[in-house]
């Protein structure tokens, strides 16, 4: 058997994005169009053909002409912006989806971990879910039985192993899910961003476990935005940019390359244009003024924006900060908030928005940028103009990680004065249980 375990040649994946034409507000028009489309669709549907999207069709190449080889025992990280094709690549390698062009040759058994707790059922107990999840990930029953105790011990939820997981806390759930995943045996292990779960202590346990797996001669492909984990686990990096292979080499060089591409954020992207003011590019700056996609809580969030204006007065620069579920977290608009409008002389301008210190919870964030006239009507809207990550948030400098997915919001609240407890009386706390019983009577 050759030493190459994965070889891709001209690997490409195309998605068809159907834009339903929204403009046909005339019902009559929509109906005649609908009737004609319906006939065609019915024909397609009976033949089970997977076509028949009406409206405009746009092709989108998520991956384009990817050629690379991975040797047995290599530890490779795949990095890139959101939408660079990382997940698509992993999905093709794990046989979840099929390439449009090109081919992949794989020697060895691939097990992939694109999500922890896939198939977990809330009604089933921890024990049952371990077997269920294991089977879904491709472990045999005998294998599961052999490793069951190990998994339970790793998860640290032994006490609740026969409780339905719907009664688990988020933390326990994630620990159990990861514990199963961590004991997956495979010759080639494909791992998506799954280490970003649990508290700091559990995360380091996971990283240790992963490096153990990596050290035992297995081939590992690993996607993460967590640079520390990428450095700790992998030796080689593949950087994807717009579906193409942009860099392939040692991990440090890969990370440096990736960071350097952040500054060119706007180059490849076509954001379209507005009527009076057009956003050209934007990037996030770190303390030293270099482009970054990581934000350290407690520092100023600095956003450098390049904008074209026709000189229209009263134009405002607006941003919306969104969390990983695209829910709004914060809002800023230059005109109403700080009485600053875009310059009234036509031209291209660069500005830096420096926001006050923010203690953002760890997780992924997006920024929507807009130029707006009279602070309400959007002139040029760019949703998801920037993405950035917060890898850890511990406002108290103790080993505690405040995360978005805890469901406790996005801002770590800070005190403006020290917290003191002043003793009011020496009385014991009233017995709550006896009060409840009184109430029930």
């Amino acid at each position: 058997m050759s030493d190459t375990v994965i070889r891709t040649t001209g690997l490409s994946k195309k998605f068809i994005i159907g834009h339903q034409v929204e403009q046909d507000s005339l019902l009559r028009e929509a109906m005649t169009r609908g009737a004609r489309a319906l006939m065609r669709r019915t024909a397609d549907l009976i033949k089970g053909r997977t076509r028949g999207v009406t409206g405009q069709i746009e092709e989108f190449w998520a991956l384009r002409d990817l050629d690379f080889e991975i040797k047995r025992g290599e530890l490779v990280s795949i990095i890139g912006h959101n939408g660079a094709g990382k997940s698509t690549l992993l999905k093709i390698l794990s046989r979840i989806t099929e390439p449009t062009e090109g081919r992949v040759e794989i020697n060895g058994r691939v097990n992939s971990l694109l999500e922890v707790g896939t198939g977990f059922h809330p009604e089933l107990s921890g024990r049952e879910n371990i077997f269920l999840n294991g089977a879904i990930l491709g472990m045999s029953r005998a294998e599961m039985k052999r490793r069951f105790d190990e998994i339970v011990e790793f998860s640290g939820v032994a006490k609740f192993i026969d409780t339905p997981v719907k009664r688990y806390s988020v933390g326990m759930y994630v620990r159990l899910a990861f514990a199963v995943a961590a004991h997956l045996e495979a010759e080639i292990l494909v791992v998506d961003e799954v280490l970003s779960v649990g508290d700091a202590e559990f995360q380091s346990k996971c990283i240790n476990r992963m490096s153990e797996v990596a050290g035992s001669g297995r081939t590992v492909l690993f996607v993460s935005h967590n640079f520390a984990a990428v450095r700790a686990l992998t030796k080689r990096s593949i950087v994807l940019e717009g579906g193409k292979l942009a860099f392939d080499g040692p991990v440090e060089a890969g990370l440096t390359y990736y960071t350097s591409t952040l500054g060119r954020g706007g180059v490849d992207r076509n954001w379209g244009r507005g009527k009076d003011a057009t956003l050209v590019s934007a990037r996030l700056l770190d303390e030293n003024g270099n482009a970054t996609d990581h934000f350290t809580p407690g520092t100023a969030l600095r956003l450098q924006v390049v904008v074209d204006t026709t000189g229209m007065p009263g134009m405002s620069l607006t941003m919306i900060l969104r969390d990983q579920h695209n829910l709004p977290v914060g809002y800023y608009s230059s005109d109403p908030f700080s009485s600053v409008a875009l310059p009234t002389t036509a031209g291209r301008y660069e500005c830096t928005l420096s926001l006050d210190r923010l203690f953002l919870a760890a997780g992924e964030y997006n920024i929507d940028l807009q130029t707006t006239s009279t602070a309400i009507i959007p002139d040029h809207k760019v949703d998801g103009a920037l993405q950035f990550y917060v890898t850890g948030c511990n406002p108290g400098d103790v080993g505690y990680d405040f995360r978005q997915d805890q469901g406790a919001g996005h801002l770590a609240l800070r005190l403006s004065a020290p917290l003191h407890f002043k003793r009011l009386s020496g009385a014991a706390i009233p017995d709550l249980h006896s009060d409840e019983r009184l109430g029930q009577r």
Partner: protein, 281 residues
């Protein structure tokens, strides 16, 4: 680590439109997943219900009572007076319930397991097949109604009853074709989530569930057997009440042909569409 104790996986080539020669062996290799998915759904289904598995018994029983009263006593459908009408009804009701459970559950199965489909590889046919397994388990539970009825009426079945498993298998095959066809196309066209329940409701009346197929005029019988369940239900009744309810042979063969056609259509459609499931779901 026991990576070495497994046989080396053969080289795998992933390419567009490549007919996967590994598919059927893979399906066999993933059989444990099939049982686990079925087990999951069975053990979850009756959680937090008061009477649990008894539901698998109650529903067909009440339908049995209603049909016996409506067709046997109110509509007074002409049948052999030697056979209790309830036995005629149960002979149609059992296979029909199995058929509609398979078709109804399997057609939604791919969508309701979309989280698995988009995150893990396995032969996708496992998913509808698991729902078939569940329907068969329910069927076995409701067989007890048949046994109870026979004891109640003191009816001794003939040797034909031994062929019952054959007709159970035929029922499964007849429902499997449309079921996996629907499971595949519903991914793209969610319309079928509405079509399938409607078709099943309709099918209950065009299949000889509450009445024997002999009430259909002779010149229409062959046409009637285009509904694959007609021949199969006839066969089921024949097993239960023996020679008293003969099989109409040409019709039965036609039903088998229709079953085979749908099975082919279902499998080939599913195989063709399933490669794109993860992109569409």
């Amino acid at each position: 680590m026991s990576v070495t104790d497994r046989p080396a996986a053969p080289q795998l080539v992933l390419e567009a439109g490549r007919a996967d020669r590994q598919y059927w062996p893979d399906l066999w290799r993933y059989r444990e997943l099939l049982f686990i998915l079925a087990w999951r759904d069975v053990s979850v289904r009756y959680k937090q219900t008061a009477v649990g598995i008894v539901w698998a018994f109650i529903r067909p029983f009440i339908t049995l009572v209603v049909f016996t009263v409506v067709f046997g006593h109110i509509a007074k459908v002409q049948t052999n007076p030697n056979i209790p009408y309830a036995l005629i009804v149960i002979g149609g009701l059992l296979p029909w319930t199995l058929f509609s459970a398979v078709l109804g559950d399997a057609s939604n199965s791919v969508i309701s397991n979309s989280n698995l489909i988009s995150k893990v590889y396995f032969p996708r046919m496992i998913v509808p097949l698991a729902t078939v397994l569940i329907a068969v388990i329910d069927f076995c539970v409701s067989l007890s109604i048949l046994a109870a009825l026979m004891i109640w009426y003191g009816f001794m079945p003939g040797w034909q009853i031994l062929l019952l498993p054959v007709f159970v298998l035929l029922t499964v095959l007849a429902s499997l074709g449309p079921a996996i066809w629907a499971a595949a196309v519903v991914v793209k066209y969610r319309d079928f989530r509405f079509v399938v329940p409607f078709a099943l409701q309709f099918g209950l009346y065009v299949s000889p569930v509450g009445f024997p197929s002999s009430v259909v005029p002779e010149q229409w019988r062959l046409l009637y057997n285009l509904n694959p369940m007609v021949g199969i239900i006839d066969g089921f009744r024949w097993c239960i009440v023996g020679g008293e309810s003969p099989i109409y042979l040409p019709g039965f063969l036609l039903s088998l042909c229709v079953t085979a056609f749908f099975l082919w259509l279902g499998i080939s459609t599913f195989r063709r569409i399933e490669r794109g499931f993860a992109d569409m779901i």
